[in-house]
């Protein structure tokens, strides 16, 4: 048989079969569009953090500069007023301002956004399940507790269970409907991973789920140990 003729004949297979494969392709394409949207979101979050860090550093430097000027003035003034009020209250102010700068800077570093997206889709009649591991994340140096939230915007014909791959979420993350679960996770890995498992409810219908995991970009306490 001519192979191209066979391929042409194969092209005439039942529409139901083609439709089923098309639905999987369409789901895949939609999920890919979702990825690019979320990637943009991630970049925006990152840029926000970068801009905030730069602005904060500039403000801190300006603050230090102003303080140094003040110190100079006070020292000069103190020189003139040595016998009067003395310089100790001013010195303690300088000390507190300096330590506050260091604290904020540490806090700013540890608040870099972490974002991972897990996309699952299935259309099997033999009830399969699979895992997808993330390969994104931030570099974490010490074991700490970090605050996250898992957001599930799309959940169709399935339930999804998310587990930490190299971290320890403090609660079970299970979605039977769309929504958001806040959790804390302990890790000291440079890359953070999550594992999601989907269970299809009706194997004859397409199933899909998207789970995004975010850090708290604005959380002050979440990044503390």
């Amino acid at each position: 048989m001519d192979k191209i003729n066979f391929l042409q004949l194969f092209g005439e297979i039942d529409d139901k079969i083609v439709r089923q494969a098309n639905s999987v392709l369409n789901l895949y394409q939609e999920s890919q569009e979702g990825v690019s949207f979320r990637a943009d979101y991630s970049r925006r979050s990152l840029w926000k953090t970068v801009i905030a860090s730069v602005a904060f550093t500039a403000a801190a430097m300006f603050g230090v500069f102003v303080l140094l000027l003040n110190v100079g003035k006070i020292r000069l003034g103190g020189g003139t007023e040595q016998s009067g009020h003395g310089g100790s209250p001013v010195s303690s102010d300088i000390g507190s301002a300096s330590s506050e700068t260091v604290d904020r800077s540490e806090s700013s570093d540890s608040r870099e956004p972490v974002m991972v997206s897990i996309h699952l889709m299935m259309y099997w009649n033999d009830r399969d399940s699979f895992n997808k591991l993330t390969d994104q994340g931030m570099a974490l140096k010490d074991e700490k507790i970090y605050s996250y939230f898992a957001d599930c915007p799309i959940l169709e014909n399935c339930t999804v269970k998310v587990k930490g791959k190299n971290n320890f979420p403090d609660k079970q993350l299970e979605f039977s409907s769309t929504g958001r679960i806040d959790f804390k996770a302990t890790t000291n890995e440079t890359l953070i991973g999550f594992e999601a498992e989907m269970t299809v409810i009706d194997p004859e219908k397409p199933a899909r789920a998207i789970v995004n995991i975010y850090s708290y970009p604005e959380d002050q306490s979440g990044s503390s140990a």
Binding site: K3, I4, D15
Partner: protein
């Protein structure tokens, strides 16, 4: 725009139907054509030919679902273009690999150009495809209908490339046995 509305425009000989199809299914068609022919320009030409063919086909036809209908036309045009090419020039597309895979097809005296036999053989292929699991069916259809590469199928269905290759190899063998049993 809904498929039924697009088809209605074809029936009204409204040329905006062509842009609507191109917008909704253009990428789908060019992907199939690119998979078969392996170059962007040919895939784009294939899309234009598909639109022309659609214009000629609707009416009299009135497909209820456009996606498989349009995809099938694009696929046939791409395969005809492939036929017209010199065998040595096939190298760019996924079709070259596909055709190699199909070298163990039954080479009986049956001529698939004969419509009656084509229908019988098609029934045999359909019955085989309905008899296997949806997962295996989708992998086979993505390979032999949409002409996707192993790597692309792996990404779309979320299983490893090795797993995809194994499914294709095993199920193709079974399909050939199935056809041979029926005298093809």
């Amino acid at each position: 725009m809904e498929d039924s509305k697009i088809v209605e425009r074809f029936w009204e000989r409204d040329e905006t139907a062509l842009s609507a199809v191109s917008e909704k299914y253009g990428k789908y068609c060019t992907t199939i054509a690119w998979n078969i022919l392996g170059d962007e320009q040919s895939a784009e030409e294939c899309l234009q030919d598909t639109l022309l063919k659609l214009w000629e086909t609707i009416p009299p036809k009135r497909p209820t679902e456009l996606q498989p209908f349009v995809g099938r036309i694009a696929r046939n045009i791409a395969l005809n273009a492939l036929k017209a090419r010199d065998a040595q020039k096939r190298g760019g597309g996924e079709a070259a690999l596909l055709l190699d895979e199909l070298s163990d097809l039954p080479s009986g005296e049956h001529n698939v150009e004969q419509l009656a036999e084509q229908h019988e053989m098609l029934d045999a292929i359909n019955s085989f495809l309905f008899s296997i699991s949806a997962k295996k069916r989708i992998v086979l259809v993505l390979r032999y209908w949409h002409c996707y590469s192993i790597a692309d199928i792996s990404r779309v269905v979320g299983i490893s490339e090795a797993n995809v290759s194994n499914i294709i190899k095993r199920e193709r063998k079974k399909l050939i046995e199935h056809l041979k049993k029926r005298g093809y």
